[in-house]
Amino acid sequence: MGRFLLRRLLSAAATLLVLSVVVFAFLNVLPGNPGRAIMGNLADEAAVQALNDELGYSDPLPTRYFRWVGGVLQGDFGQSYAFQRDNGPLIWDALFESSKLALMAFSLVVPLSLAGGVLAGLRKGRLADRTISTVGLSGIAIPEFVSGLFLVFLFAITWEWFPGQARAEEGANVLEQAYHLVLPSLTLVIVLFGYIARMARAGTIDAIESDYTRTATLKGLPRSTVLRRHVLRNGLVPTVAVVSTQVGYLIAGLAVVETTFVYPGLGSLIIQAIPKRDFPLLQSAILVVGILYMVSTLLGDLVTAALNPRVRLGSEG
């Protein structure tokens, strides 16, 4: 297990290094000029030039890359062009907000979709299965912005049950914040339910049809024991893997939901930074997303490995 962990950590570090180069190269070929993008077309050229010099945008590319990576290694994420303050607090604040939304969505969707998925798997081909699968599929199919706007229309404007905006007032308590997060979380639940339920269902079916379950049933073990000991445990393996990759989605791919609900999370931070050509903020925010994704995938792999020794051995082979 230790060797497995070390290997994974080393490969994650290597991947991050590649990622930093890729992200930097990718972003810095974007056309446009941050000073101009920030100040608009009516700003004086000299003022724009001055801003670019001040921002360090006028320096050559390698200088900028090493300044950035060097800083990140020391915990300094650089300065945002657009906000002209440290990226670190900007990113951590946004991440904190996203995490709240993700946590809320997660705590709703995971139990809901696992239960639905396992139920569908156990009742494969029957009405319950078909209903759950179809609902899940439809949820996946509808883009977040559509379901989000629909929820706002119904629950915020027509019936006024929930606020149409995700952000609670400053100093609001946990309950108020959760109340504001209901609609955006539901939007995420609609999308994620299908994914996770589908995995849970497939895992359950695989497990039921596998030899060891059949053997266990033939051995005469009670159905509930077979379910608990074999089906659930083995069926959940791929589910955990998927859930762990969805953490990456949840934290960063939230962009659309955050944009729709005006939520100051990491996704909307990145989306807003693109037209402003705020390269330092983009680079660092995207790098953070990458790190988060890797950490969650790693955790997912560890859980999978713990649940299923075959994977661990396979990875080391």
Binding site: L30, P31, G32, N33, P34, R36, A37, I38, M39, G40, N41, L42, A43, D44, E45, A46, A47, V48, Q49, A50, L51, A82, F83, Q84, R85, L90, V152, A156, I157, P163, G164, Q165, R167, E169, T259, V262, P264, S268, Q272, I274, P275, K276, R277
Partner: protein, 592 residues
């Protein structure tokens, strides 16, 4: 000893009867005219002859610093729809079109409480020298004051300057502003004329790379602003008849800050304004507290909380969900969902779009081709479609109908497909052509591009639209590295200005830095120089007529419309005012 500032209130004729006006009019006018300068008399003549509307007269008179009382008197006599409006400065001027929400002046509001405003997020850090966007200037305005205030009716009102007038040779080369006494900065120190001098030296100094250089270049040079007792004297590079506008809220960088200001506004936001900045969080919001020592009308509310929104749809939702009391500066189209449930507050402005055609490139080398394109547009229909009619017709020059100096006798260009076809044929392009149209992704611009695309279709002109975000579209904003300036055909956004000077300069002068049409015409350059130096409205009009006709003929840029904005508030929120530039005056806002 504590000096309590005295709020100047100009006497507004309390008697609405026309008879009284008529009888009193000539006696008072005659007396007044003896003390007027030649330019001032000329302005009055233009007004009395009917060449200036009441609104235009008030605007023009305010530039020249004419006595508020006389202006009010004359304006009130002109017609009887004048209303009394007040500005944050507390000075009262008679004028029609204002944007103070209904009920502003009735009953003294109960002080206290918090007002919540939603607006666009500032796109950069807040520094008076550098700010260049709506979000930023809204924040600045709460904290700071300007020498003069340019209302949405284009009337100038006193601010830090109590009065102003052209001095010296009175040709508009020298302007003297009298600085109000008893004004205190938020840290308790008194404002002096030296602070004013330092503020303008800072803005005019090329070394500071101020955003205001786009206004002051060729107008004001560092060192030519001098304090003289309680006065500040500006000696300009060339005569400029509109100078008081260039130190008003229109030039939003020109808030008066302390002479030792050190580019640290976000940490030390010290101005003289009605609000003190309490907390500023980039891209999220700002909160302000009432300045108890404000020299003008002190705010009704104890606190003002601003929430910044990333886009307009979100801002509208914010008002609907009850998160804010006022959604500030919403486009006409964007505010539609609010109709009925909320109160609109129209902000007339000279903001517009420029559709340029490069005169140095095919297929637009021939001016007949450019005229043909301009003739395909059904402008009233475009305005109806994009703004529900809440916009002014553009006549392919920067002279918006709202400007006093616009010569309205120049015929409005209207849709004429037959003429367009024959012009195109005469230019040898009767088969039409394919052309790419680069448009900025801003509000209605993509829709405007679509309408242009459909309008020119009957001529056989096949337009391919490319919509680009601001970063991409402006590019480096220098020739050769900017779709905005390099595209053969493009649409760019321009914000409001109280005078057309900026619009006449950079986008159209031969050496203009934003000359996307690559228009080079020495006759035009000469005319613009004449216009800039013209001091009285009659001579401005003579020149502007020539400019309007020249631009109509050449058509390097299509100006199809000048559009308005709206701020929306909950129905019980009233009393707030807005400048054409978009500054939000909350001093008299009240709830209930």
């Amino acid at each position: 000893m504590r000096i309590r500032s005295r709020v100047r209130t100009a006497p507004v004729d309390p008697n609405p009867s026309g008879g009284h006006c008529a009888m009193d009019r000539y006696r008072r006018l005659d007396l007044a005219r003896r003390s007027m300068s030649e330019i001032e008399n000329d302005t009055v003549d233009e007004y009395l002859r009917g060449n200036l509307s009441r609104r235009q007269f008030v605007a023009r008179a305010s530039v020249l610093g004419m006595s508020g009382g006389l202006v009010a008197f004359l304006a009130a006599c002109g017609d009887d729809d004048s209303t009394t409006t007040t500005t944050k400065a507390g000075a009262t001027t008679a004028a029609g079109a204002t944007t103070t929400a209904a009920g502003a002046t009735t009953a003294a509001p109960k002080p206290g409480g918090t007002v919540k405003i939603g607006c666009t997020a500032p796109s950069a850090s807040i520094d008076p020298v550098k700010v260049g966007d709506l979000g930023g200037l809204i924040v600045l305005y709460q904290v700071g004051d300007y020498l003069t205030f340019s209302g949405s009716d284009l009337v100038l009102r006193p601010g830090i300057a109590e009065k102003w007038e052209p001095t010296g040779a009175k040709d508009g080369k020298e302007w003297t502003f009298t600085i109000r006494q008893g004004v205190k900065f938020h840290d308790g120190t008194a404002l002096t004329p030296d602070d004013v001098v330092a503020t303008f030296d800072r803005l005019a100094d090329p070394a500071n790379k101020s955003n205001a250089l786009s206004v002051f270049k060729g107008v004001l040079t560092k060192g030519n602003v001098k304090a003289n007792g309680q006065n500040v004297v500006f000696t300009l590079d060339a005569p400029n008849g509109n100078f008081p506008y260039l130190v008003s809220t229109d030039n939003y960088n020109a808030i008066i800050v302390k002479k030792d200001y050190a580019s640290d506004f976000e940490t030390k936001p010290i101005g003289t304004g009605p609000w003190k900045l309490e907390k500023y969080t980039p891209k999220q919001g700002a909160s302000f507290v009432r300045n108890p020592d404000y020299w003008g009308t002190k705010p009704t509310f104890d606190r003002a909380e601003f929430t910044f929104y990333a886009d307009e749809a979100a801002l509208v939702l914010g008002l609907q969900s009850g998160a804010v009391d006022i959604a500030h500066a919403v486009s006409i189209a964007g505010g539609k969902p609010l109709a009925g449930g909320y109160s609109p507050n129209l902000i007339p402005s000279t903001a517009h779009r420029q559709l340029h055609m490069r005169v140095d490139q095919d297929p637009f080398k021939d001016k007949r081709t450019r005229q043909a394109v301009a003739l395909t547009l059904n402008r009233p229909e475009i305005i109806k479609g994009l703004f529900d009619g809440k916009a002014d017709l553009g006549n392919d020059s920067p002279f918006a109908p709202a400007y006093p100096s616009t010569d309205k006798s120049v015929a409005q260009r209207a849709q004429d497909l037959a003429k367009a076809k024959s012009l195109l044929a005469a230019a040898g392009q009767d088969k039409g052509f394919d052309i790419q149209l680069n448009a900025i992704k801003a509000q209605e611009v993509p829709d405007y591009a679509t309408l242009v695309q459909n309008a020119v279709k009957p001529l056989g002109i096949n337009v391919k639209t490319v919509v680009q975000d601001a970063g991409e579209f402006y590019g480096d904003a220098v020739f050769g590295k900017s779709p905005w300036l390099d595209a053969t055909m493009g649409i760019v956004d321009y914000g409001h200005r109280g005078v057309p000077n900026v619009f006449l300069g950079a986008p159209l002068l031969s050496d203009g830095t934003w000359n996307s049409a690559h228009f080079k015409n020495s006759t035009y350059d000469g005319l613009v120089k004449d216009y800039f130096s013209a001091l009285d409205v009659a001579s401005q009009k003579t020149v502007s007529k020539k400019i309007q006709e020249l631009l109509l003929d050449e058509t390097p840029i299509v100006f199809a419309y000048f559009f308005n904005y709206t701020s929306w508030s909950k129905k019980d929120v009233t009393g707030y005012g807005i400048t054409g530039m978009g500054q939000l005056d909350l001093t008299k806002a009240k709830k209930g």
